[in-house]
Subunit: 338 residues, 2 copies
Amino acid sequence: MEEMITVAVDAMGGDHAPAEIVKGAVDAVKLRKDIKVCLIGRQDVVSEELAKNGFQGGQIEVIHAPEVIETAEPPVLAVRRKKQSSIVVGMNMVKEKKADAFVSAGSSGAILVGGQVIVGRIKGVERPPLAPLIPTKKGVSLLVDCGANVDARSSHLVQFAKMGSIYMENVLGVANPRVAIVNIGAEEEKGNALVKETFPLLKNCPDINFVGSIEARDIPEGEADVIVCEAFVGNVILKLYEGVGATLTSMLKSGLMATLRSKIGALLVKPALKKTMKSFDASEYGGAPLLGLNGLVVKTHGSSKAKEVTNSIIQCVTFKEQEINEKIKTNIGGSHGI
Amino acid sequence: MEEMITVAVDAMGGDHAPAEIVKGAVDAVKLRKDIKVCLIGRQDVVSEELAKNGFQGGQIEVIHAPEVIETAEPPVLAVRRKKQSSIVVGMNMVKEKKADAFVSAGSSGAILVGGQVIVGRIKGVERPPLAPLIPTKKGVSLLVDCGANVDARSSHLVQFAKMGSIYMENVLGVANPRVAIVNIGAEEEKGNALVKETFPLLKNCPDINFVGSIEARDIPEGEADVIVCEAFVGNVILKLYEGVGATLTSMLKSGLMATLRSKIGALLVKPALKKTMKSFDASEYGGAPLLGLNGLVVKTHGSSKAKEVTNSIIQCVTFKEQEINEKIKTNIGGSHGI
């Protein structure tokens, strides 16, 4: 019999909670018999949603958490005060090994704080980065860090590169992943103080396949598998990706409705157009793990619908099976920091 | 009789020099009788291009400059050593008031260095930012700074906001332009050290219409007219804009060729599609001025073709007519720095 994996899911977090979250969980356990989901939230609300989905069975358990951390709340205070919130309850389950992973579409700040304070860092890891997959022409790349960890140091970036490589190699199956640092030019002497300091450290790091600087222009082309940057820049990249994609899609739609000729054409190209735009939609690729924690915490988009929740839950299985955290422990812990 | 404006143009800079540059200059003087262009470059080469375009007349003069600064050369050294290069000769013409403006598609580094070292800053201006227009759903926004000025201070960003506002109001005709600072969240307490320090300064700046933080996601929607950030972030935004646009265009093209149905549709939607993608192409909006110099220096894309060169030359007229530098002098110089 195969091993079961337990994923705690924040039923109250995100714009479409609880309906889409619960639906996503139901879909996940339908797809995989080796997953158990603990839906964390207000018992009555969550049970009602489960009933709506006609769900019966042992693969989903509801864990009561009466409080909810709102997106606008100051994260540190919220995590400290709302002990009965879905985020704090979920994090504690991971800490106490009652769950292998926690998935939430709730407050990014609270998830980042909770991950560090409650679940805790792997020994030797200086900062746990948020590492989403972003779509490219060739597939996907991992963007580390996109969290709220601003003003990073070069030693953090080197760890991001190492952890990102382990993730891409083992979860995505990319052999010898190409690591690049975001820069404003291809030459080694270019960049701000942080990049100039980090570049030679990455170049001399034996554990990774460092390919040099990457200009933002080349990111969508898929020129690297692991894209290293500090969180402010990462956040800008991630959100601009979403923004340019969304704006172009909406502009294309109105552009195609402009003339009778283009309207007729639009009917014919719609499926192809939709497929292309979808392949470039970051939300198609599941949630972003917080790397380097003593357990798995996955942040999904605030706007997550059922499909992204399902994908994020299933992603946790590979993370566990490939023993990513053990590999990070050996690699980062074993090198006694940087 | 209307006043003539003299624009020095680097005939040797950029991927398509000299052919496209010379063609752009010829087109500009055909469109405007009040412009004189000085084409700077190798006399024989430039004259040959002029002949190819069948140009005769007094609106274009060729200024011989035997040297060329290559993109890969270290900028400071190149500007110091290559006194006879098209960039140095052009900058000197602006300095000596022989030209009102200098337009170049050449080495960004050399243009930024030359602008500061040869043309010089307006008194009180701490750093001259490179300020390109970027396309949005609503039109265009000005992105300051995208230059090579990394590791900026908060006082620089406040000046960028002021100069950017003057530019948008007077050159683009945007009344009371909305100024926003690039941030990783909408709340005032978010951001890295630089943004946190700059936010209250912008908030308390009486000369600008500060609307707060802007997340990268909202930039393509046109939520602000002047987008302030330090150059590393600005460079990432500008290049990712170009990158996502270019990658999506190429993916759409192959997507539309996938089936017979979509191929037929593609024929019908092609004009509408092309129009939309074009309106989102940064190169349509002329060059980027270096704001705050004692004269006008405009950097156009390295990949500039004739049309962008023409647009950049014509842009110089409005800059001169609206007395942008006099306004910057009054605003920045008058406030005795920050």
